[in-house]
Structures are given as structure tokens and as C-alpha cells.
Amino acid sequence: MMGVPILATAPADMSFLPALTARRRVRALTVLVAAALIGVVLCLQYGVERIPLPELARILLAPGAATDSAAGVSPAVIVWEVRLPRLLLAFLVGASLAAVGVALQALLRNPLADPYILGISSGAALGAALALQFGLAWAIGGFTAVQLCAFIFAAATIGVIYRIAVADGRIPVQTLLLAGVIINAILSALILFITSLSDSTSAFRLFFWLMGSLATLGYDGLGALAAIVLVGIGVLCAQGRNLNLLSLGDDPAQGLGLDVERVKRVIFITTALLTGAAVAVSGLIGFVGMIVPHAVRMVLGPDHRLLLPASALVGGTFLAVADTVARSLLAPAELPVGVITALCGGPFFIYLLMSHRKEAIG
């Protein structure tokens, strides 16, 4: 140590930190954007009927031809009106869940955190349960009553949790986590209560809603959802550097210059709103929000400036592909997409875990 003069300077080459080079970041994000585009286009082929690639290309390159269908439903209508909106919805939901998972794992300093851990999703589920129970059938701006009720209840839940967890401007992470767990328990009890009162039809509909589905959202709703999701993920991406520090703990982060409480508020509210929006339109799709952040972190490292956008891209692509598999595997019957996300994602995660274990041993 004493051999190194305090005032000397070292050369600024980045070779000592290969993980941080700009080229590597750009390359990783380019690959993921390309994979997302290719994935979505390939998925458009599949469904009840397969549309071969050349025909798909013709349809995509000439959008005007969508209306001149003669007898039955033309492939163009299937692509533009059925498959593409559903794929876009899957992508937006998957991207939101993965980005929220990354941010919450850093905020709560808990690698087991997922978007549903703070009880926002249970709030949304209660809203949906009430709307289904009372048979609300209206729709506004492309969203159904069930979706809107779910979002409103999610927003109310955010307010309640914030009220419980915040004490004189500070959010103690453990309190936030406990508040989430307890709110989750109370809301789940209420949902069970409502279900026990309802007839079998609406109970069955609620059961399917809770399993998660990407079936119902037109272009009107998609536009509004895309706006929320893009702003939300944008805000989280801009917090990348702050999340790096926050994941070290409150005291170290503040010692390094982070306004810890302000950042925690921003992260909590943004992730909560994104979760509320995603759950309102798709129900509870498991696995994406916890496993995608882990898998991406194992490959690209824990730097949130790269991890966050990369996880959003991977999460979106993953859910789009999983949903395509879910609706084509037993077509015309449809599997719950959560089954596919767990069955594909789980083994892949085990593979990553085992290959990393081998690396660690030598």
C-alpha cells in the first residue's frame, strides 16, 4: 500500500472492469431489443391456425389490406385485431412485472421480493372480485369495469400501505414489508369472504381472473396502458444508479450521498402503480416478476443501470412467448399463462443456478 503515492494518478483504461464498458452495455441491449422484435413477429404465426411466415410478412407490410376480408375471418384480421394486441399486452405486462421485480428486490433488499409482495395485487384482486360479484358490465376508454375497479382498489391499497409504513417522512423497509404482508392477508380474507357469498358462476370467473389471462384489451386500452408502463419503466430506469446504492442499505447509501427517503418514495409509488396497472389488466401472472430479474442478474450482473432495462425487455419477450405457447399448445383450448411461465421459467432458472454453482467451484 505504501508503495503507491497518494497523489499519483492511474491510467483511465477500463480493462480492469470489463463489466462496465459502454460497448458491452450497448451490445446487450441491442441483442435484447432484436430478440424482442423477432420473438413478437415469430409469435404472430401461432394460434388456432398457423399463418406461415411469408403470408405474415405480407400482412405486416400492407396494413391497409386488413379490412377487405371476404368470407370468414381473414388472416389479416386475425393478426391485426386478435394476435398483435394480445402480444403487445403480454409484452407490456411482462416488462412491467420484471422491472418492478428488479426495483423491489433492491428497495426491500430481499431477493425473494416480487411485484405481489406488498399487497397491491391483493387490492386489485379485491376490486375485481367486487366488480364480478356485482356483475358490473360497463366499460370506459377500452377498459372493462373489472379492470377499472381492480386499478382503483390497487391505488387505494397503495395509499393505505403508504399511510401505515411512513413515519415522519421515512419508510423503514422492514415496516413496509410487514405492512405489505399483513395487508395481503387481510385482503385475501376479504376475497375469500366475497367468494363464499357468491354463486358458482362468478366464483368461477374470479378464479380464472386470479389465475391471470391476457385475453381482453383492445387498442384503446392498450394505448393508455402503454403510456403508464412506458412512463413507469422510464422512471425506474432513471433510478438505476440510485438503486445500486439503495441495495447496499440505508446508512451506506446515505453516506455515499443518496437522498434515501426520497428515492424510496419514488420507487415505492412507481412500482406500486405499475403493479396495479399490470394486475388490473392481466390478473396474477406468477413467476415473471421474481425469476426474470434473477436470471438477467446472473448473466449481466447486478448493475441496475443495465439490469433494469434488460429485465424489462426479457420479461416482455418471455411473457409474449409464454402466452403464445399457452394459447396454441392445446388450441382451441387455452391454458392459463401462469402454468407456462412457471413450467418454462422454473427449469431454466435451475439450469442457471447449477451452471453458476459449477463456476463457483472451479
Binding site: M1, M2, V4, I6, L7, A8, T9, A10, P11, A12, D13, M14, F16, L17, P18, A19, L20, A22, A106, R109, P111, A238, G240, R241, N244, L245, S247, L248, G249, D251, P252, Q254, G255, L256, G257, L258, D259, V260, R297, G301, P302, D303, R305
Partner: protein, 269 residues
């Protein structure tokens, strides 16, 4: 020399008993102050109060005339770097990434590292001899390597004031001496003010300009090591009888522990 820190009648408690009480202290710019005292005498709390991580219930902690409680974290972190006793890193950040986080206060916007950030971080890693570990994850390091990484991060922060809590814990002999060598050098070349909490009275005696001896949350004695480290003071504050002579090379007080007496009937009641 100007006062850099001024503590006036500071009191702090977590729950009921006061951890610190009636604590007044001036730290001059450019000095090396050692904080010593028995377990639970309030050393770490004092350091955290100075770093602005704790707020006193009584009195004021002032830095260059302004109350630490009113300074925003960003401004605070430009002036003061803190090396905590223990650090945990949950995610697999590498040594290089962690040291670069010390540059947080000097970055703007989306915050990709500039050439300056890389140069300074790398230099800090060289000083602490962790540059060869740059791509290793924090979890894969030994206790001493982790500690040196955290000190390197504090050096990369480039602050005029350094606060260290037990910087030599976990370190082997050579690295213990090296750490104090680095502190001395920073103090001489960059006029960095250093406040260091230490259990090692001999190292504190050898390297600090001044010592603060805490006893039950109150300053007991403040002054040059030879005035503070006396047999009487240590008997009162630590509750044991030590031997003190002069260090053969530096002449500073050298503390030797007494022979450990067996304590009959203590264990087999």
C-alpha cells in the same frame, strides 16, 4: 487551525438510557483524532452522529458552522466519507463496481462513469491493494479484503474529512500498519481530517495527534496520547490494570495487557 466539527452538548439515545450525553468536542481541520473507550461507551454512535446518519435529541453537531441535520445527503457526502464497521452487499457486485459507487456524488444525471471516475477509483483500489480483485464479487472476498474494498470506496469519494469505525478490525498486521500509513499520508498530502474509532490503543497512540477517551457516553479525557493514555484513566474507563511504557521507536505510550488471572469458581458455579 480552524474548527471543522463542533459538537455542543450532544445527547443521543436509541431507547431509554442515553448512549451519549453532554458530549462537546471540537475537531480541527487537518488533525487525526482517535476515539477510544470501552465497549458501549458510545464511540460508534458518536461517529454516526458526525456522519449525519443519526440525529441528536439534545445539542447540535455542526460542520463548518452549519448543523449536520440541515445538510442534504449529497452535500454531506462531498465533505465526509464514512467507513462503517461492517458492510453487507446483497447482490453480486464486483469490487470495481463497489469502489466506483464512491464516485456517486461526483456524477450527474444517468451517471455512467467518466474517465476521471475510473482513474480515481482505480487509484483508490491500488492504494488499498484491491486492484487485482477488481472483477471479483464482494461475497467472494475474505473479511480483510472486504474491509479494504470499503475503505477504497471511501477514498474514491475524495472528501476532505474521513470517518472510520474500526478500520483495522479483520486486518492482518501488515495491513493494519498500512491503513494508518495511508491515513497519515492523506493527512499530510491532502490535509484530510481523520476521525478514527479504534479498539487498538497502541495503534491509536502511535498515529493519532489527539485522542478522545469516552466513558459511559461522556468524554472522559481529550488531549495528546501521552496525557490521555495513563494507567489511572484506563483503570477507570476500561476497568483493568494495564502496564504503560514508551514505544521504543516513537516514544508514544505503549500499553501492555496485564497477566490474565484465572478466575476461580466463575464458570463452575
Amino acid at each position: 487551525m480552524d474548527a471543522c466539527y463542533q459538537l455542543r452538548d450532544v445527547g443521543f439515545r436509541y431507547a431509554q438510557p442515553w448512549v451519549l450525553e453532554g458530549c462537546s468536542l471540537d475537531v480541527s481541520e487537518g488533525e487525526i483524532l482517535g476515539v477510544v473507550g470501552a465497549n458501549g461507551s458510545g464511540k460508534t454512535s458518536l461517529l454516526k452522529l458526525m456522519a449525519g446518519l443519526l440525529r441528536p435529541q439534545k445539542g447540535r453537531v455542526c460542520l463548518h458552522g452549519s448543523d449536520v441535520a440541515t445538510l442534504p445527503p449529497l452535500e454531506m457526502a462531498r465533505l465526509v466519507a464514512l467507513v462503517p464497521q461492517e458492510s453487507q452487499v446483497l447482490f453480486p457486485f464486483t469490487v470495481g463496481e463497489l469502489v466506483l459507487m464512491g464516485r456517486f456524488v461526483h456524477q450527474r444525471g444517468w451517471g455512467w462513469e467518466s474517465g476521471d471516475d475510473l482513474r480515481i477509483a482505480r487509484h483508490a483500489m491500488r492504494i488499498m491493494e484491491v486492484d487485482h480483485l477488481a472483477t471479483r464479487t464482494f461475497q467472494a472476498l475474505s473479511g480483510g479484503e472486504r474491509h479494504r474494498t470499503v475503505i477504497a470506496r471511501a477514498l474514491a469519494q475524495h472528501t476532505p474529512i474521513l470517518l472510520l469505525d474500526e478500520p483495522t478490525a479483520f486486518l492482518d498486521l501488515k495491513h493494519q500498519i498500512d491503513i494508518y500509513g495511508v491515513l497519515k499520508e492523506l493527512n499530510r498530502e491532502r490535509h484530510v481530517t481523520v476521525v478514527v474509532v479504534s479498539h487498538d490503543l497502541n495503534l491509536a497512540s502511535q498515529y493519532c495527534d489527539r485522542l478522545l477517551l469516552l466513558h459511559e457516553g461522556r468524554p472522559y479525557r481529550t488531549g495528546p496520547p501521552k496525557d490521555v493514555l495513563t494507567v489511572e484513566h484506563l483503570r477507570v474507563t476500561y476497568g483493568c490494570e494495564v502496564l504503560i511504557d514508551a514505544h521504543p521507536a516513537t516514544g508514544t505510550p505503549r500499553i501492555t495487557l496485564p497477566r490474565a488471572e484465572a478466575r476461580p469458581h466463575l464458570i463452575s458455579q
